[in-house]
């Protein structure tokens, strides 16, 4: 008894000394918040008009289109997996919605509903393939990524003869669907794109799930130590399939936004976006190896992405610089994360 008592007492002393600092360092978002402030100050200084309400609105809109996907992708990464098909799945979701409505001359809401089912089914397919075959998610979703890329182009050419879908703007239900997925609301005297609300809503729901629900506990556990999770009775398969369906749900919202803001869908779009979602999640503090991260972090990551992509435009620089900034941010964020993890696992 005395051995434990003294051992735990000394552990307590150590904890007391560094407690406030540790608490701060323990937040997954810390690095990204510091980064976001730095990027914000930087562009406020070098880009004229960056601080104008209209510009900030543009930045927020750009952030939200990435952020809506970055949230479920972050949850998936915390659960220890990747989804490389997330980018093209957005396009698939938009294509299914548009083509179903057009070909069946149905109300656009029917297409939206069918698209939700198809997209969720693809997400479930990813999850089930992963848990059944036990292959790395990198391979499984790389496969789905390629298949979907091909299907998107192939089907669109087959049905419409070109690489883009037919306009559905004159179809029944289009205006109301546009209100939900692609409208601009006026709150006070500020115009707010509705995707921003979707984004904030998703961040709030995802944070609640992660921090306060049983499912959140399971997500951290399957990402942190899958075997331990399974051994104490966590339904690993259900959790992972659920996470992939979450990504699919995000893809559905993004896809419908794409469709109802442009009215036609380019079937080759979305390739490469999956990496941007992952980058946003990683900048936001998600460990690439799983088990650690936050939904708010992914939002900050998406915001950094939005600020950088639009800030460069406001500063009237060559947009080529954008990728350089993104890469540098990613490296810095990952280094910080690795350091945080080392601290967390330090004394065994």
């Amino acid at each position: 008894m005395s051995a434990t008592a003294s051992a735990s007492a000394s552990a307590d002393e150590r904890l007391l000394e560094t407690s406030p600092l540790r608490k701060l360092l323990g937040r997954p978002e810390l690095g990204s918040v510091v980064g976001a402030i730095a990027v914000f100050v930087f562009f406020a200084l070098v880009a004229d008009g960056f601080l104008r309400a209209a510009s900030l609105n543009t930045v927020l809109y750009a952030s939200s289109t990435i952020g809506i996907m970055a949230v479920p992708v972050a949850l998936l990464m915390i659960g220890g997996e990747f989804d490389l098909s997330a980018g093209v799945l957005v396009t698939t979701s938009a294509l299914v919605s548009s083509m179903f409505s057009y070909q069946m001359t149905a109300n656009t809401w029917v297409g939206v509903g069918v698209s939700l089912l198809v997209t969720l089914a693809i997400g479930a397919f990813n999850g089930l393939m992963l848990t059944r075959t036990k292959l790395p998610s990198f391979i499984i979703t790389l496969g789905t990524f390629l298949m979907l890329t091909g299907l998107n182009l192939g089907f669109t050419k087959l049905i419409d003869g070109t690489v883009s879908t037919k306009s559905i703007s004159d179809m029944e239900g289009f205006p109301s669907a546009q209100d939900v997925f692609a409208s601009t609301l006026t709150i006070g005297d500020v115009n707010v794109k509705i995707t921003i609300l979707w984004w904030f809503g998703l961040v709030a729901v995802a944070s609640w799930i992660l921090l306060r629900t049983r499912a959140g506990n399971w997500i951290f556990a399957v990402g942190g130590n899958q075997d331990a999770a399974r051994a104490v009775g966590v339904p690993v398969t259900k959790t992972k399939v659920g996470l992939y369906m979450g990504v699919a749900f995000g893809a559905w919202i993004s896809g419908q936004h794409l469709l109802f803001s442009y009215d036609v869908v380019q079937s080759g779009e979305g390739v490469g976006n999956e990496l941007i979602y992952i980058i946003a999640a990683v900048i936001g503090g998600c460990l690439i190896t799983g088990g650690y991260g936050s939904a708010i972090g992914s939002a900050v990551g998406a915001f950094i992405f939005g600020m950088t992509s639009k800030g460069i435009v406001f500063a009237e620089w060559n947009p080529d610089w954008f990728k350089f900034f993104l890469g540098a941010m990613l490296l810095l964020a990952t280094l910080l994360n690795a350091w945080v993890r080392k601290r967390a696992e330090a004394t065994k």
Partner: protein
């Protein structure tokens, strides 16, 4: 009372005989030690009792009833909690989240059903305090605790969740002398609370300190099954170390 009884149990992986003809009994308030060297089949035996694998032959009885455990969840529901050497916890997660992992208490109606975080944190702190671990912050990642402390968290968790049978997979293997002593004390404490304990180890000294029954495994078969009054520590150590084989080896070495 016999909580778990294995009779002539065997397990094959393809054409590999991992376990053949193993019998053991776990009684309430007693410690059954399973001893064996690496590859003796200890892990396979645990996995059968823990519900991770199903046995191919023989009979597994729980409370006298014949059973086959299809998942760790089912084993848990039947009161069998397994504490694995490496698998016990998720290092990056806070202590309180680990403590309740897989059996989170919840409150609130319908879609707003959420974990009872306050209760979880308080209970974790109180239960660990009972074991002599005074954590100032149950929010710290469990990876920051020492190996012995983590074992104790896992044992405390199993006891708290009303386990009747505690399966411990080499709880002292990676620990120093002092830490091992701490863990052994909690194993004994669990026994005194009336739990049946399966204590897997390759250290006959640790086993003999707390054990009531000793099952010796070697290359997947059972080479000994003794109660405490049937065997001495020296004999246990000798059998564990290879017994007759060791004598043969000694003769051989002497000749050269």
């Amino acid at each position: 009372m016999t909580l778990v009884e294995l009779t002539d149990v065997s397990k094959h992986y393809g054409n590999i005989r991992a376990l053949e003809g193993v019998s053991l009994e776990v009684h309430a308030g007693e410690i059954t030690c399973v001893l064996g060297d690496n590859g003796a089949g200890k892990s396979t035996l645990i996995k059968i009792i823990a519900g991770l694998h199903q046995h191919d032959g023989g009979v597994l009885r729980l409370d006298g009833e014949e059973a086959k455990l299809s998942s760790p969840r089912e084993a848990l529901d039947r009161g069998i909690a397994t504490v694995y050497q490496d698998l016990a916890v998720v290092p990056l997660m806070p202590v309180w989240r680990n403590f309740f992992l897989g059996s989170e208490p919840r409150k609130g109606p319908g879609p707003f059903k959420r974990m009872d975080v306050d209760f979880m944190k308080k209970t974790t702190h109180a239960e660990l305090l009972r074991m002599g671990i005074d954590l100032r912050d149950v929010d710290q990642p469990i990876g920051t605790l020492s190996g012995g402390e983590r074992q104790c968290v896992a044992i405390a968790r199993a006891v708290y969740f009303g386990a009747k049978v505690l399966v411990l997979d080499e709880p002292t293997a990676a620990l120093g002398v002092k830490q091992s002593g701490v863990v052994l004390k909690y194993v004994a404490a669990a026994r005194d609370q009336g739990l049946g304990v399966v204590f897997i180890t390759h250290n006959p000294h640790h086993a003999y300190m707390v054990g009531d029954r000793f099952v010796l495994l070697k290359r997947g078969t059972m080479v000994g099954n003794h109660t405490r009054d049937q065997i001495t520590l020296d004999e246990l150590t000798r059998q564990m170390a290879g017994g007759n084989e060791l004598d043969d080896l000694r003769h051989e070495l002497q000749r050269t």
